[in-house]
Structures are given as C-alpha cells and as structure tokens.
Amino acid sequence: MMWRLVKNELIKISGKRRSFIGFIVIGILMPLILWGFKVGGSQVYREITEQLQENFIVVGSVFNGFLATYIVMNFLWVHIPFLITLVAGDIVAGEGSAGTFRIYLTRPVSRGKILLSKLLATYIYTAALIIFFAIMSLGLGSLWLGTGDLIVFHKGILILPSEIAWMRFALSFIFSIGVMLVVASLCFMFSTMVNNGIGPIIGAMAVIFVGLAVSNLPLDFFEKIRPYFFTTYIDIWKEAFYDPIPWREIGKSILILVIYTAGFLGVSFAVFSRKDILT
C-alpha cells in the first residue's frame, strides 16, 4: 500500500518540469567544470600543488578527478539545497494550489499515510539528486581526469592516498545525502503550511542563508547563538576528509540534526492532519 502511494508521488514529481531542473543543472554544469579543470586547471591550486610536488611524493597526478570533485563539492554544496527545495517545497503546497487535494484526500486513505508517502518520495528524489551529483562529479571526474592521491586542506595540508580517498568520498556523499534530507525536511514542513509552490522555497532558503551566516560569520553575538542553529552542524560532509575522522563530533552533529528533523516532521504531520483543504 505505502509503496503504491510513494509511486503515485514519484509519478506526480516526474510530471513537473521543475523536477528536472536539478538534474539538468548538474548534468550541464559538471562536465563544464571538469572540462575547465582538464584544459586549464585552477591557477591557485596549480601554484600550491606545484610547491607541494617539490616537497612531497604524491602518487599520480595531483590534479586528478578526486581533487576536482572535492573542490566542486566545496563550492556547490550551498547551492544544492535550492535544487532540492524546488521539489520539496512543491510536493504538498503544489497540490494545494492546483486543487488536486480535493479529490486526492477524499479517498479512504488517512492523511498521515498520504503525507508519509510524500515525505518518502521527497527523500528518494533528494537521494537520487545527490547520487547523480556523485556520478557526474566523482564518476565522470575520475574517468576523465584520472585518480590519484587527494590533497585537502584542513589544519594544514593533508594527503589522502587514492585507496582511502574512495572511501572518504563514499562517506562524504552519504553524509551529504543526510544533510540534504534535513534541508528537504525543513522545506517540506513549510510546504505543509501554505498553498503555493514558491513560498516554501523562499522560506527554506531564507532560513538556510540566515542560519549559515550565523554559523559561519566570526561575530561574538553569532557565536553565542550558534549552537542552537542546525546549520552549524550541516557541514559534516567535509569532516569525512579529516584525518583521523572525528567520529565523536560527527556523531554529535548527526544527533542534533536528527532531533531537528524530527521537529520539522512533527510540525509537518501536526499541521497537515489538521489542515482545512479550502482550495
């Protein structure tokens, strides 16, 4: 039963143009970026890595698919939430604005089940988008630019041998999916509250931008309130590249993110089960 409801939601998602924007953007942008690396590389990174190669023994090309993926992740991860909110924000509110709830919610299936199916579909979409991102960055990048040791910058320079780097990327993408599920849950919550497909996107992005500012700007006042913002904990995907991996910190962050997500979902279900369908 639940699978059929989820399938319904996936059919609805596939019927909307905005659902493809994320895939199209990543599908076009990623090859372009990789191509840029291939032909020119990054001026800054070339200078640094040239110095490095004088002092360290680095196996393979420093300027490989791993490094490209790592850099791309660092630059793009704040933009990915937007692509996810396009779908997460619309999944409930979109039906409100189209008026389709007035038939969909008159069948003898409880609202809780309907909302759960929408949530699962949102999560599936989110995971699919991140996996696509991984394929287009790490997959395409390692095929095209080759693999080798990964050089990352964390409290100095860290060289991760290529066998370890694979592992770290896998871990990092798993964390990324987790983090994006938190973002999706936030936007999903806004989506249950209104009947238009744009509001939840703006709402979620506003929260994320303000949250990231508080979490990252070095101001005394921000530092005081920082621990209460979930955005403070959402860069765990980066920590997969630290050495050693700070599992205690990561565990704490995951716990806090899970609590926040439970809160977002609790509000979502409470709002939706009481909601008057007036459209």
């Binding site: 319904n8 189209a98 038939i103 969909y104 069948r107």
Partner: protein, 303 residues
C-alpha cells in the same frame, strides 16, 4: 429503499467569526437524487467539504452509510465519489495517468479506467495530457474520477457550472444514468431549474442555514417559495390593483415589472382582474429564479 445513507447533524463551521454553515441538519435517503440548492455563497461547497472531511467542523458531524465522518473517516468515505467545484488534475499527466493515480490510492481497477472513460466519452483522448483539455472535457473527466471506484453515493458540486447547453445536457444525462444504476446522487446547484429537472428531493440553504427541505414536487407547489413576474402597463395602476387582492403578495416592484408570490391556482384570477381593470399585461413569467426566491425571503423577514 428508504434507508438514510447520509445524515448531516447540527453541522457548524465558521471562517474567522462568520458562520458559513450554521447548525445544518439534513437527511439523504438511498436511491434519490437530492438537490442541494442555495445562492452563491450560501455554504454549499463548504458543506460538501465538511461531508468529505476535507475540512473539520466546529461542531456537529456527518454520518455516511452508518459511520461518522469525524471518527471513522476512511470507512465512511469508502463508497463516496465526489466532484467538488471545478475538477482539478495533475495537468502534465494524461487522463489515464490521472485515473491510475486514484486506482493506486485504492479505488477501482485498471479495467475500470477504460469503462469510466467510455462513460464520459473521453476514451479517444485518454492518452493526451489533461492540460490540453477543454473545460467541458475536464468536468467530464472529473466525473470519471468520481465514478472510478463504483461509489454508492455521488456528491456533485455544481457539475454544470461553466458548461454550454450541450455540456449541461450531457451532465444531466450522466446524473440520470447514475441514478438509474442505483447510485444516490447529492447534487448542489444554485439553479432552481437544474434541481427541478434532475432531483426528486431537495433542500434549500441560505447563509449556511436550512431554509426548507422536502420533495421537489411538493415544494414547487408551495406558492410562497417562488415568485411570478408580471410585466404590465401602466405599472403603478397594476401595483395598486394587486395591493387590494388578498391572494397575491407583492415581493418587489421594478420599472417594467412586478414580482409577486401567488399560487398556481390563483394565477388565472390575477390575470382576469388585471385585464378587467384595463391594465395591459404583456407577459407573465411563472416561478422565476432562485435569486427572486431569496429576495422574497428577505422581504418576508422585514415584514
């Protein structure tokens, strides 16, 4: 054949501070086509949304097939089909896909999809996206959606609104055939003649309150419910003549016509008197619109 399958009990709903449905009580009996009549804004759609548990009542409840909607929502809605206001769809999907989505929700079968598309004559367009449909086609597809799971109670909220005469006729015939198939129909409308044509029983609501209910035949006989329009010259004289008659009641006077409430039996007497007094009667329009009826209600309240 006389079982009550839909019972509305003391149903009340307010938006902000305004009562939109006010202590409403209704009974719909199995097998009938029930007309739910009221002017724009009377609370018809709100009542229907309450019946279908799309919105929660402030107080009161609805019992469908013996189950209370607020307590046993899923059980009570099992055998109910509905078209509420304008039909709405996933526009980028085909008609068939839209119906499949409802089948996945646990109503009907894939074979039934073809059947209902056949019934509403959309089988040839089944694989076109709904966004390419005309308004009339959408309304028909809405009826197909409602028929998909073989409901025993069909709730239709102004299904003919926005349709041309041909479309209206088609919907009317669909209602007739549903009724012939033993489906109980709850038809909301703001058009008296629509209810008159399709329904056996009706209830009239205004400002969320029940005004009157009963057999359509009986209600239409009830003289004071509906007004007769008399176009006559000179109008002032006609008014003063009518004022002296105790079997006629003036409801409203305009420049060219007088609206009165008069029984069918007394209508010939009225025309005779007018003609005898030398007044030129150019037209008598019996039993005019529902709007006039509500006008007469408010007039009565004042007097």
């Amino acid at each position: 054949m006389s079982e009550v399958i839909l019972r509305i009990e003391n149903l009340t709903k307010s938006f902000k501070d305004r009562k939109v449905v006010d202590s409403l009580n209704l009974e719909v009996t199995e097998g009938e086509v029930f007309g739910f009549l009221g002017p724009n804004g009377a609370g018809k759609s709100t009542t229907i949304r309450l019946i279908l548990s799309l919105i929660k009542p402030d107080s009161g409840d609805v019992k469908i097939f013996g189950k209370w909607v607020t307590k046993h929502r899923n059980g009570s809605l099992q055998n109910v089909g509905a078209l509420i206001e304008e039909a709405a769809f996933y526009k980028n999907l085909t008609a068939r896909r839209n119906l499949q989505i409802l089948v996945n929700l646990g109503g009907g079968t894939n074979r039934r999809i073809d059947e209902v598309l056949e019934i509403v004559r959309l089988i040839d367009r089944a694989d076109d996206k709904v966004k390419t449909y005309s308004h009339g086609m959408k309304q028909r597809l809405g009826i197909a959606q409602a028929l998909l799971h073989n409901p025993k109670l069909m709730i239709l909220d102004e299904p003919t609104s926005g349709l041309d005469p041909h479309g209206i006729k088609e919907v009317r015939e669909l209602i007739k055939s549903m009724s012939d198939d033993g489906i109980t129909v709850f038809l909301s409308s703001h058009l008296l003649h629509e209810v008159e044509q399709s329904c056996s029983t009706m209830a009239i609501i205004n400002e969320g309150r029940l005004v009157v209910s009963g057999k359509v035949k009986d209600l239409l006989k009830q003289t004071d419910l509906f007004t007769t329009e008399i176009q006559a010259q000179p109008i002032e004289e006609a008014v003063s003549v009518i004022r002296q008659l105790d079997f006629v009641k003036i409801v409203v006077v305009s420049e060219e016509s007088i609206k009165v409430s008069v029984s069918k039996d007394d209508l010939p007497n009225l025309t005779t008197v007018l003609v005898e007094k030398g007044i030129k009667v150019s037209a008598i329009v019996p039993r005019s619109s529902l709007e006039d009826f509500f006008l007469s209600l408010t007039v009565r309240d004042d007097g």
